[in-house]
Amino acid sequence: MRRLAIYLAVAFGLGILPAAALAQVKVQIDSPTADQPVFGPTSVMVEVQGAEPVDRVEVFVDNQLKGTAKAPPFNFQIDVGDDNVRREFRAVAHTKTGKTATSTVVTVPVEITEVMNIKLKPLFVTVTRGGRRDLSLTQEDFQVFDNGTPQDLVTFGRDELPLTAVLLLDTSGSMVGGNRVEAVRKGAQAFIDGMKPMDEAMLALFSDRLLQFTPFTEDKSVLARDLGTVEAAGGTAVNDFLYMSLKLLEGRNGQRVVVLFSDGSDVHSVLSASDALWKARTGQALIYWIQLTGGEKRKSFVSAWRDYKSNDREYEVLEKAVVESGGRIERIDRIEDLEAAFRGILRELREQYAVGYYPSNLKGDGSWHKVDVRVRGGGRARTREGYVDY
């Protein structure tokens, strides 16, 4: 929502109320901006300038203290709730000598015309030509078909939207030994290191249970810290935690992605792969699945939960979820290749074109809309295969 607010700010012009600043210190709320609707988890970004050292910055929403920071960057993640109401954000900077400065921003409820924006269908498109990604395209080079009907593109860009990622990392018992957990740590760290300002990620290390996780955060140190604390143990429950990740991404903005690393298939989930597929179809997140294959073909297996045939079917459905989301499966032979795989996926995300359109044929009937993107000149375009209309 924070980022939605920023994009709208660009469109409508910034409306920051002047701060009641003292001579020695000035404070300004950079985000959110005035006259914009804000819901749910919101990033409040405060800028402080002045000669005096700052003791702390406090943020109030509707006169309730919601966060305090002692050192820059003065960025706060605040859940402001889902009510469609006017909100007052106030930042107060306190200097070491006891002086204060204040800045206030008032956001407004969403208007009916903006509800229509929800119907905007964003697509993230990877275009390759001759085996290489083509980064030279313009909006005119794209054609989008929704259930066969050509659509007008209303947004277009590349590497402009911030990323919101869930790094979903399998740290089950099969990862014990051989520096495997360390390799996972390095791989995820490579992704985190490549995050830009405004990107945010959540880390979830899982086996048959959730072993460790962070909230969504832009703070790389938080992500890095929790990476180092896990010990591999237990079985594998991909479906459950993939569903969870997709669900958590639903309420967020930007280019949403789950990067799943697993050396095996699902064994212990209560949900089926079709639950994950359904969630992938109804959401907008891309799924990338890094599989550690050890250079071998996938083997069928049996457990107390499923027979060979069911396990094979589960795997196929999960693959389908990945492909339909517009992501892909990356198979690596060696755990040492994991870091490069994470870097490659991040690079690919940065090099995707973001195109958006208002579907001309929505009915809200739960039907499947097949999406087809074509590129002039014969490039190969990969994006999500469709979505559920509801």
């Binding site: 669900k247 212990h268 359904w278």
Partner: protein, 405 residues
């Protein structure tokens, strides 16, 4: 009583051991790992001072085996099994079947001698082999597969022999637990076929051995033989109708049978409802999950929701129940509540404990604790009998058996 045992032992032992020898060879063919390279003589690795690849005469094998039994009977529980491993792995050459036969013949000669007066010594001797096998597995040392199979087979055959020769109900109980414990070890290491054979034998020796029934059922289940699973679990539940894990597995597998009828679905549902409402162990949340899945499969989403809501009241710290309910609500259009549930799941601190779904798919060592306790106690109480038998037979010369390396 003593006279009867002595008579039976004298008459019966050789025939049974002959059968055991056949079993041993068959077992080794069927269960052996890849043969290892012939060992070369190397430095001593254990307290017996044997060198790898060293040739040991039959008389020397008997002498050392007797010494190991003596250590075991004297309560040297750490030392004796390691000595047995040292002896057997030195004697048995994986590339040369004759060496296994030689070891068997030499050990048989000693056992024949010490058991001549009292069959009860078979229990601690079987337990010694059982312990040696356990150590092989736990150390993950598979360099001597034929020696491993030999010692496991010895443990099994001595247990069966004890029961056959004694004929008492108590002997059946002890032998059954011995086989169950061996089966449990094999099952833990995914050796399903030999484990199933041991469990099968165990329930034949003691039809009230619920651990063996459960072990057998879980092997059938893992091999997708759901009808057999149900049959075995029905027998278990006749013995112990309140066995929670058996009830859960019974309900789960009733529905998996190829021709499961409506009546079986209803029976499964009833069992799951009872477990979901009353079982506090790891079985409880699993019953909730499976009951909700049953409703989901039968297109009763509102029932699934109800079951999961009630389940969450009982098991508020179960992350998986949050996720499962979220998925049900999501599909029913209650997206906001589904999101809230997933977020709530993240407020549950990460668990160090294995999830109930993992436990269901895992062979838990503690499942075999009861069997292990029975054989431990039975063995300990007979160590003095073994010590006495050994002291009474030490004056005799070791038997000469014409096989060696």
């Amino acid at each position: 009583m003593c006279a009867r045992i002595e008579s039976k032992a004298l008459l019966g032992v050789p025939a049974v051991w002959l059968a055991s020898a056949v079993l041993l060879v068959a077992s080794q063919i069927a269960w052996a790992q890849a043969p290892a390279s012939p060992p070369e003589a190397g430095p001593s690795a254990g307290s017996l001072g044997l060198k790898a690849g060293e040739e040991i005469s039959a008389g020397r094998i008997q002498e050392l085996y007797r010494r190991i039994l003596s250590d075991w009977s004297a309560g040297k529980v750490d030392q004796a099994p390691d000595e047995l491993i040292e002896l057997e792995s030195t004697v048995v050459d994986d590339g040369e079947p004759k060496t296994r036969k030689a070891l068997f013949a030499a050990e048989q000669a000693v056992i024949h001698e010490v058991a001549a007066n009292d069959l009860e010594v078979l229990v601690p001797i079987a337990m010694l082999h059982h312990e040696a096998y356990r150590r092989y597995l736990e150390r993950g040392s598979y360099e001597h597969p034929q020696a491993m199979v030999h010692t496991r087979t010895m443990a099994r055959d001595l247990g069966v022999l004890y029961w056959e020769q004694s004929g008492s109900e108590g002997a059946g109980l002890v032998a059954s637990r011995l086989l169950t414990s061996l089966g449990g070890m094999l099952q833990q290491f995914a050796q399903h076929l030999p484990a199933a054979e041991l469990f099968q034998q165990a329930v034949e020796l003691d039809a009230r051995n619920t651990t063996a029934f459960l072990g057998l059922a879980t092997i059938y289940e893992k091999n997708s033989q759901y009808e057999s699973t149900v049959k075995v679990l029905r027998r278990l539940l006749e013995v112990d109708p309140q066995h929670a894990e058996a009830r859960l597995r019974f309900a789960v597998n009733l529905r998996r049978q190829p021709h499961a009828a409506e009546a079986e679905g209803a029976e499964a549902r009833k069992v799951l409802e009872e477990l979901a409402a009353g079982e506090a162990s790891w079985i409880g949340p699993l019953a909730v999950q499976e009951l909700a899945r049953l409703h989901g499969d039968e297109k009763r989403a509102s029932e699934a929701e109800k079951v999961l809501r009630a389940g969450l009241e009982r098991f508020a710290g179960d992350v998986r129940l949050h996720i499962q309910l979220a998925a049900v609500l999501d599909r029913r259009g209650a997206q906001a509540e589904a999101t809230a549930l997933v977020e709530k799941a993240l407020s549950v601190p990460p668990s160090r404990e294995a999830s109930s779904r993992y436990l269901y798919n895992t062979v838990r060592r503690e499942a075999f604790d009861e069997a292990r306790t029975v054989i431990d106690e039975s063995s300990r109480s007979r160590l003095s009998v073994l010590a006495l038998a050994l002291s009474g037979s030490t004056s005799q010369q070791p038997q000469q058996v014409e096989v060696g390396r």
